[in-house]
């Protein structure tokens, strides 16, 4: 019950603190023979309410960076702080609820569960909180309304266009009102008109709910619309 209260408070735009702070973050993939450096020496601070884009060539470590910020992946070096709290040394059990409350993900390939209706897909993050069913449903419907898909709640993902699927994915990412939204090439599989629609939704979320957004994109035109651009090259921050 406390949880919801905190969430409600957070929906008001607060632009004071730091949402994400990475200090000296490195990620090295070690297999028997080779060592791949996916990230090294990344120092990054994302302010609360900021809309940031990450750009860089393929293989430069953008997804790795996002996964580390999203607590899905652990850095091999350096520290990650979310809202001032250090994440080092937390177990999977401790990280899972943090991901649930603080982070929302949007993926290039949507990753909707084909077997579930739109509404049930959107409810997924709420399943891992102790919320009554009615409340879950209401929140999911509100999130779908927000992305303009109220009319499609009973559809299955396969019955939707790419742009609509990505909107469902965004609804799923924001349904739990996370502090931070992480989008990995959210427009990568969409044509430019649908891509613009998606960016417009993200901008509105950023503006109105004060959600901090970190978006990976290859599209300079879209990146220009955000507050700040971070560029990666070979796992290093170049700007």
């Amino acid at each position: 019950m406390n949880e919801t209260l905190v969430l409600e408070n957070r929906s008001a735009p607060v632009r004071t603190g730091t949402a994400v702070r990475l200090t000296g973050v490195a990620k090295v993939h070690r297999t028997d023979r080779i060592e791949t450096v996916a990230l090294s020496e990344v120092h990054l601070e994302v302010g609360e309410g900021e809309f940031l884009s990450v750009m860089g060539p393929s293989g430069s470590g953008k997804s790795t960076l996002l996964n580390i910020v999203g607590l899905l992946d652990r850095p091999t070096e350096g520290t990650v702080e979310i809202a001032g709290q250090a994440m080092n040394g937390l177990s999977d059990r401790e990280l899972a609820p943090l991901r649930n409350r603080e982070i929302g993900f949007v993926f290039q390939t949507f990753h909707l569960i084909q077997d579930l209706r739109v509404r049930d897909n959107v409810e997924i993050p709420l399943l891992y909180r102790r919320l009554p069913r009615g409340e879950r449903r209401a929140l999911a419907e509100a999130a779908l309304e927000r992305v303009g898909l109220s009319a499609r709640m009973g559809h299955f993902p396969a019955q939707l266009s790419g742009g609509q699927r990505q909107r469902v994915a965004i609804a799923r990412a924001i349904v739990g009102r996370p502090r931070i939204l992480l989008a990995d090439e959210p427009t990568g599989n969409l044509d430019s008109r649908m891509g613009d629609e998606i960016i417009a939704i993200l901008e509105e979320l950023n503006r109105e709910a004060g959600t901090t957004i970190v978006m990976v994109t290859h599209d300079a035109r879209l990146a220009e619309r955000t507050n700040r651009i971070v560029r990666l090259f070979d796992g290093r921050q170049v700007q």
């Binding site: 997804s63 996964n67 999203g70 899905l72 992946d73 999977d92 059990r93 899972a96 609820p97 991901r99 649930n100 409350r101 982070i103 929302g104 993900f105 993926f107 390939t109 949507f110 990753h111 909707l112 569960i113 084909q114 077997d115 579930l116 049930d120 409810e123 997924i124 993050p125 399943l127 891992y128 909180r129 069913r133 993902p157 799923r172 739990g176 599989n189």
Partner: protein, 415 residues
């Protein structure tokens, strides 16, 4: 959450119909066999008519008489039961009766073999027979050695054909008995009640039985509460050293005790040779459980293999759930739960099949008068077993699935 798990489980089932069919079929057959066995054990061990008080009944049906050189194990004798087993504390009713004995009746030149028991009047009070006609014999008929008999309806039909049996006489092993009652047939597994013909024990051809310590009889002790069993056993044991031996040259002591039906069956199966020790039912039940487990293991391993080969179908889902806050433990729970649901559906199919198979067994005459049923106990065994089977076949795949790396799981893949 459960509704969600249910929805997903249902969809996963529909996704691969062949897989679903094979796994439901496998689970169903496994549960079918286990349920049939459970129904037989239930028939044997649970209080069912006429043995309605089985749960608070002790039986003295196997004793040993020992000496330096000799040992005699088997059913006790009337002398022992009558002289040393009466008036045990908390025993409300005691009945002494013979083990079954085959007797022949000739009807129009045809030999009909029936099983005859000679009993006292208390027998009819401890056991609840369903009288279709007439009545049981009472104390005075037993005291007087009245040549009367109670028959099962099928024995009556074999002997009297279409004639009304009550009041009619027939010859059983050279003795003429008059029918005073007809009861419904008794299933074979109700072992203290099973017989075709009952007559007062005083109708026995000779009086020898009265003093014998061993041979031919058994007793039922109806106790006011099963909490008293140990007290009764202790009193029984304390009486044994005082038994006056009828053949002291060869024998010097008697061993044994009042046992429950379960203990009786356990010692029968284990072939216990030492009557002085109480049969270890824990071992028996443990062995039964182990057999059931072994029986489930092979189909479970099969299912594990099938499930493992389909993990790839759910990789993206696993990544998504983790990204949105599911811990590994929660995912394990979800996948195990899904599998348990699947197994319970399979189990229900198994129960349905068992219903039919038990009906066939009952009708086949393979077990005399079999009355195997799927009652609430058997249903709950079936459901428990199928849940267990679900955990058994679901735990490993669930554990493997839940441990997938979310970063890898979410990489690429058109969804």
């Amino acid at each position: 959450m459960w509704i969600h798990v249910f929805k997903i489980a249902y969809k996963v089932l529909l996704r691969r119909k062949f897989f679903t069919f094979v796994s439901l079929f496998g689970t169903g057959l496994t549960i079918l066999v286990l349920v049939v066995v459970a129904a037989m054990l239930d028939d044997l061990l649970a209080p069912r008519a006429p043995e309605v008080h089985l749960d608070r009944t002790l039986q003295v049906s196997r004793m040993a008489m020992r000496g330096e050189q000799r040992e005699w194990t088997g059913s006790p004798g009337f002398g022992f039961l009558d002289r040393y087993c009466r008036d045990l504390p908390h025993v409300t009713t005691m009945s002494i009766f013979t083990v079954g004995q085959d007797v022949a009746t000739f009807v129009a030149g045809e030999k009909i073999v029936s099983q005859l028991r000679r009993t006292d009047a208390a027998y009819w009070r401890i056991l609840d027979f369903d009288f279709l006609d007439g009545r049981p014999f009472g104390e005075s008929e037993v005291t007087d050695g009245a040549p009367v008999a109670v028959l099962t309806s099928s024995a009556a039909r074999r002997i009297f054909r279409d004639r009304d049996p009550v009041g009619a006489s027939f010859d059983a092993g050279g003795q003429t008995l008059r029918v005073i009652g007809v009861v419904r047939d008794v299933p074979f597994f109700r072992s203290s009640a099973y017989a075709d013909i009952w007559a007062p024990y005083t109708t026995a051809a000779t009086e020898d039985y009265r003093t014998r310590l061993m041979g031919g009889f058994q007793a039922l002790l109806l106790v006011d509460s099963r909490a008293r069993f140990d007290e009764i056993r202790a009193e029984f044991a304390s009486r044994l050293p005082h038994v006056e031996m009828t053949d002291p040259e060869h024998y010097d002591r008697m061993d044994g005790g009042p046992w429950t039906r379960l203990e009786e069956v356990a010692s029968e199966v284990a072939g216990t040779s030492d009557e002085s020790e109480r049969p270890r039912t824990g071992w028996f039940l443990g062995a039964l459980g182990l057999l059931a487990l072994l029986f489930m293991l092979l189909p479970a391993i099969n299912l594990v293999n099938m499930t493992m080969s389909r993990i790839f179908e759910r990789v993206s889902e696993i990544g998504v759930r983790k990204a949105f806050g599911a811990s590994t433990g929660q995912l394990v729970a979800q996948f195990v739960m899904e599998n348990v649901l699947l197994s319970v559906v399979g189990g229900l199919i198994g129960l349905g099949l068992a219903f039919w198979v038990l009906h066939l067994i009952n009708a086949s005459g393979w077990i005399p008068n079999a009355d195997l049923v799927v009652n609430y106990r058997v249903v709950s065994y079936g459901l428990l077993l199928s849940m267990f089977f679900g955990v058994l076949s679901g735990a490993y795949p669930a554990w493997r699935m839940a441990r997938l790396d979310p970063v890898q799981s979410l990489r690429g893949g058109e969804r």
